[in-house]
């Protein structure tokens, strides 16, 4: 009898053990599966997020400055003119960069430098519309900008500039960069700012409409002293006509 009871207990214990193990196993697998399929977090800390298309190509990168991607256009990678910034970089269906949002600011050796930009690029080209803020030691500009960009691919200019970007900083680099940019402008590979609406570092609030060669031709201004005027300008920057409150 005692023997029988003990063997029943043992059989029961071993069954319970088996069931327990199975339950834990299932629960464990379920928990891991759930976390693989659609995990939920209250908060995540991350240095870089890549939003990718089903085929793996990027549509958006959100990152700190260190992990910010270089420019990718038509499958080629280029260095930026300025340093990479924290923010977002947008990519079109072809995996080419087509805009972004970057921000930075720091005080170093007593000099403040800050900027923020939100940009959309023309297809195959550089920024065509954007909101920008720039500051150097209290000289600030902020506003909306619209640019013309050439029909040719931005890679034509990028290919010219890229080897110079890799040179050590110095007068030779500056000279060559200026030369390349000048010839790019002559070839029509640059761009032209057509619209600025905002405030400029001379403490004016302004609307500036420019021609296809970046020259301001119509300007609405309220200057730092509060004087308002509308100016028509010629292609050499000379004011042709001014309207103000005191005009008849």
């Amino acid at each position: 009898m005692a023997n029988l009871s003990s063997s029943t207990t043992r059989r029961f214990a071993s069954r319970a053990y088996l069931v327990g193990c199975t339950l834990f196993g299932v629960a464990g697998i379920a928990a891991f599966t759930r976390s693989v399929q659609k995990p939920r977090f209250d908060e995540i800390d991350v240095e870089r997020i890549n939003i990718i298309a089903p085929n793996g190509s990027p549509r958006l990168v959100i990152s700190n400055a260190e992990r910010a991607p270089d420019v990718i256009i038509s499958g080629k990678t280029y260095h930026r003119s300025s340093s990479n910034e924290a923010g977002m970089i947008f990519y079109n269906e072809e995996g080419s960069e087509n805009g972004g949002m970057g921000f930075s600011g720091h005080a170093r050796n007593g000099h403040v430098s800050a900027n923020a930009g939100f940009m959309f690029d023309q297809y195959g080209q550089d920024q065509t519309v954007g909101l920008t803020y720039d500051e150097q030691d209290g000289r600030r500009s902020a506003g909306l900008r619209v640019w013309d960009r050439p029909n040719q691919s931005v890679t034509l200019l990028a290919d010219m500039v890229e080897p110079i970007k890799l040179m050590a900083d110095g007068p030779e680099k500056t000279r060559r960069m200026t030369a390349v940019r000048d010839s790019a402008t002559k070839l029509g590979l640059g761009g032209a700012q057509r619209v600025f609406v905002g405030k400029q570092s001379d403490k004016t609030a302004t609307v500036v409409l420019s021609d296809a060669r970046s020259r301001p031709r119509l300007r609405l201004v309220v200057d730092s002293a509060g004087a308002a005027r509308i100016e028509f300008l010629d292609d050499a920057g000379k004011v042709l006509r001014t309207l103000s409150a005191s005009d008849r």
Partner: protein, 253 residues
Amino acid sequence: MDDQLQREIRRLRRTNAVAVGLLVIVSVSAFVQARPGTRTKFDEIDVERINVREADGRLRLTISNHARLPEVVVGGKSYPLRGGTGVKSAGLIFFNDEGNEDGGLVWAGSRNSKGYQASANLTFDQFDQDETISLGYGDENRHRQAGLDVLDRPEEPIQIFAESAMAIRAMPDGPAKQERARRLQEAAIARGAMPAQRLFVGKRPDKSSTVMLADRMGRARLRLTVDSLGVARIEFLDDSGHVTRSLTGSDTR
């Protein structure tokens, strides 16, 4: 022999205890990892969509590729009305506290059989309506526009439009469908439920840069322009689009 057997059993029991213990820890830790209330750190993640939700689960923001872009949600209801134009935008969609879409930041661009098409927009919607301010770029084979738009939107909820649009979309293509769409638009005009563009600052496909201010019917009434040749003018217009006064740099007054 009996002693050896008992030692063996004791050893097996110990092994079992350790194994079960480990299993418990692994199972529990798996749940703890997925459980809310913790903060997780990653160096870098690849993801097709991120949903930012309120604590109760209401969606406030999606960040996604095109394939996982959420459907339009208005009046608490989903409408598969996005992407009718074939543009494969990816980006961010914003939702208000009621879970209805209230803006977004999306972009797209690709070659197609006719050339290429590209667009990018940051938009904020009027409450229960469509976009009221938009920073954007649109381009179809070098026919480009870029700038800032401000729009008036109708007082009625956009859900009325969404319901009609769904009904029309369900109809077979043909004259009846076109007629229904035409009547829908006429009715919207009749009850003053059409949007009106009030402001544009930017560049137009005719290669002018411009500031345009419009009246409540969306008619341009004041226009500052520098055209493709660099000629600047300020124009006042009447409600039928006639320029009633024009100022240029060459005026003598």
